[in-house]
């Protein structure tokens, strides 16, 4: 296992370098002046521009720039934006909010998705099964921003049940945005667990357990669930990585002060240092999540051994 983890970590290095270089090149190699509009209505003074070009090493060739950036990163220095804000600090304040939102979404997704999937998988071709199939079809088809606005409009503005925007990111306030964020994946989780349960229902070990005279509850809750949930948990793990990077839309609609809003604003204002910093963190999180999921796989299913 240790050897496997080491090999995977080594394999991650080129992917990490490639992805961050891709983003770095896209952000900094943009045609046009990166400091346009940074000084209000007038053009930036030459002294400011040359100081900034020096600060971000813009006069070096692209590879050298990237190398210097990586060197700073290795020392834990994310650099400063052109306005002088420390990128690392901003990420450190925004990231916990996004993480909290992602965890809320993951919990909602897991509970509702797995329950719906198990219930419909156990009753093949019944009313409940069709209901789950049709509603997942709808959930998959509605883009997240439509769900977000409809929820905000109906529950926030017309019925007044919830606050339309998140004023402070406490756990309770994040339930509605988390629900919106989770809506799409919830459908996939339900379908995945339904297929998995339906497949395992006819497995030999289930028949053995039933023949032994175990109560239905135990057969489903212990024997079937543990075996059926392996693909679902893999999906949930990758999804957590995706939530952390893809909450731009949900955070924008509900005004959640997280990483998504931060990176979106930075891209629009051409704040290169902030964009590269955030994307680097997100790529790192995503890569570590995939590794974690693969390791979890081996823990849950003793038949899988990485040696």
């Amino acid at each position: 296992m240790g050897f496997y983890v080491l090999r995977r970590l080594l394999q991650m290095v080129p992917v990490f370098l490639g992805t961050t270089f891709l983003i770095y090149a896209l952000v900094w190699a943009v045609p046009g002046d990166p400091f346009e509009g940074k000084c209000g209505e007038r053009d930036c003074p030459a002294a400011y521009v040359s100081a900034m070009r020096d600060k971000f090493n813009l006069d070096d060739p692209l590879l050298v720039q990237y190398g210097k950036y990586l060197g700073n990163l290795a020392r834990g220095d994310f650099g400063e934006t052109s306005a002088g804000l420390a990128v690392g600090e901003r990420i450190a304040t925004a990231f916990p909010v996004t993480l909290r939102l992602a965890l809320v979404a993951l919990l909602i997704e897991a509970v509702i998705g797995i329950t719906a999937g198990v219930v419909s998988g156990l009753r093949n071709r019944g009313f409940l099964d069709s209901l789950v199939l049709v509603s997942t079809l709808f959930l998959i088809s509605i883009p997240v921003f439509v769900t977000g606005y409809v929820v905000q409009l109906v529950f926030g503005l017309q019925l007044g049940l919830i606050s339309p925007t998140v004023t402070s990111p406490t756990w309770g306030n994040l339930i509605v945005p988390g629900f919106v964020l989770a809506s799409l994946s919830m459908a996939y989780v339900a379908r995945l667990s339904r297929a998995s349960i339906a497949e395992n229902r006819r497995a030999d070990y289930v028949r053995t357990a039933l023949a032994k005279g175990l109560p239905q509850k135990r057969v489903v809750g212990v024997h079937m669930l543990r075996n059926s949930l392996i693909p679902v948990i893999t999906f949930l793990g990758t999804d957590l990585g995706a939530f952390l990077g893809g909450a731009i839309v949900t955070e924008g609609i509900f005004n959640v002060p997280g990483v998504g809003g931060l990176v979106y604003r930075s891209i629009l204002t051409k704040d290169g240092a902030m964009v590269t910093g955030v994307v680097t963190v997100l790529v790192l999180v995503y890569l570590l999540m995939t590794l974690l999921v693969d390791m979890l796989y081996a823990v849950l299913d003793p038949r899988i051994r990485y040696d």
Binding site: V30, L137, S141, V279
Partner: protein
């Protein structure tokens, strides 16, 4: 004896696609989704069949008027006829979806089948490059690419659409490449490929004549679902203000301009959102039906 064989095989044997078509014909889901798709395609090709109003006519005097018998869906903040714009918006969404899917399928499966067939260093290099593109969060990557491309300022409708298609293809080709690669690796071990090779067929002939027809089904299933997904992603990017934009009319563009007036004119947002959802739903349903027909395990 011959009679028995004739009974066992009443007509000429069907291939995989003949079988799939036979299974599809009896599914109501398939017919519902295809008729919905046909309707949307008709809207995209001949919008004048559905509406005579001009989608580009903005009159502030009728700003935010609710739906009435004259204008079925009402007017938005700029005084555009929402019904006319929803009908005319189908074209941009369909064009982006179809072109992006075609690009992803052609690029991804070409690279995938070559990597699967030749293996070795080509496979290793291509797979690592695919890993890099998968590692970029999708929406984030699309935003960065599109802001870079948008930097040059004013662009015509063709260029705007091409940029969105390009960014979707660049970020999604690894998915179809991986599907094609794994199918190609499995097909390479099959006897018919070995037989063709023993008969002295060139790699080119093996790939085109023998492997491609046997490997295309999984990618085909993916492409139907992806088409719906791409339409949704296009709307998301347009909603964020960096995908399609004026002068192109699309559902995402309409939602983007309606979102700031949600409190006073919710109909300007709900109608395009409804059309968008119905279209994506049709493609997802079709994908579901096609997958069930093509995958014998699910029958």
């Amino acid at each position: 004896m011959t009679d028995q064989i004739a009974v066992l095989a009443p007509d000429k044997p069907r291939g995989l696609f003949g079988d799939a078509w036979h299974a599809l014909r009896s599914r109501p889901l398939f017919w519902v989704s295809t008729s919905l798709i046909l309707l949307v395609v008709l809207m995209a090709v001949f919008p004048s069949l559905f509406t005579a109003a001009d989608p580009g006519l903005a009159q502030l005097s009728r700003s935010r008027q609710p739906p009435s018998s004259d204008a079925w869906f009402g007017f938005d903040n700029q005084g555009y006829d929402i019904y006319a714009r929803v009908i005319h918006g189908a074209r941009a969404s369909i064009v982006v979806g179809v072109l992006a899917t075609a690009g992803v399928v052609v690029l991804g499966s070409t690279i995938g089948i070559l990597a699967g067939f030749y293996g070795r260093w080509l496979d290793a290099v291509v797979s690592r490059i695919a890993d890099i593109f998968v590692g970029v969060p999708f929406v984030l990557g699309a935003i960065v690419i599109l802001t870079t491309l948008n930097a040059s300022g004013g662009a015509g409708p063709v260029r705007i659409v091409a940029q969105v298609v390009l960014s979707l293809v660049v970020l999604s080709w690894p998915v179809s490449m991986r599907i094609m690669r794994s199918t190609a690796i499995a097909a390479k071990q099959q006897d018919y490929v070995k037989a063709a090779r023993a008969l002295g067929a060139s790699p080119r002939r093996i790939i085109f004549k023998h492997m491609l027809p046997n490997c295309v089904a999984p990618v085909l299933v993916y492409s139907t679902i992806a088409l719906g997904a791409f339409i949704g992603v296009e709307a998301t990017l347009s909603y964020l203000g960096i995908g399609l934009r004026q002068p192109v009319v699309s559902w995402g563009v309409m939602i983007n301009s309606a979102k700031d007036y949600l409190r006073v004119a919710p109909h300007a947002l709900l109608f395009p959102a409804g059309f968008l959802t119905a279209t994506v739903l049709a493609f997802v349903m079709l994908g579901d039906a096609v997958r069930e027909a093509l995958d014998p395990k699910l029958r």
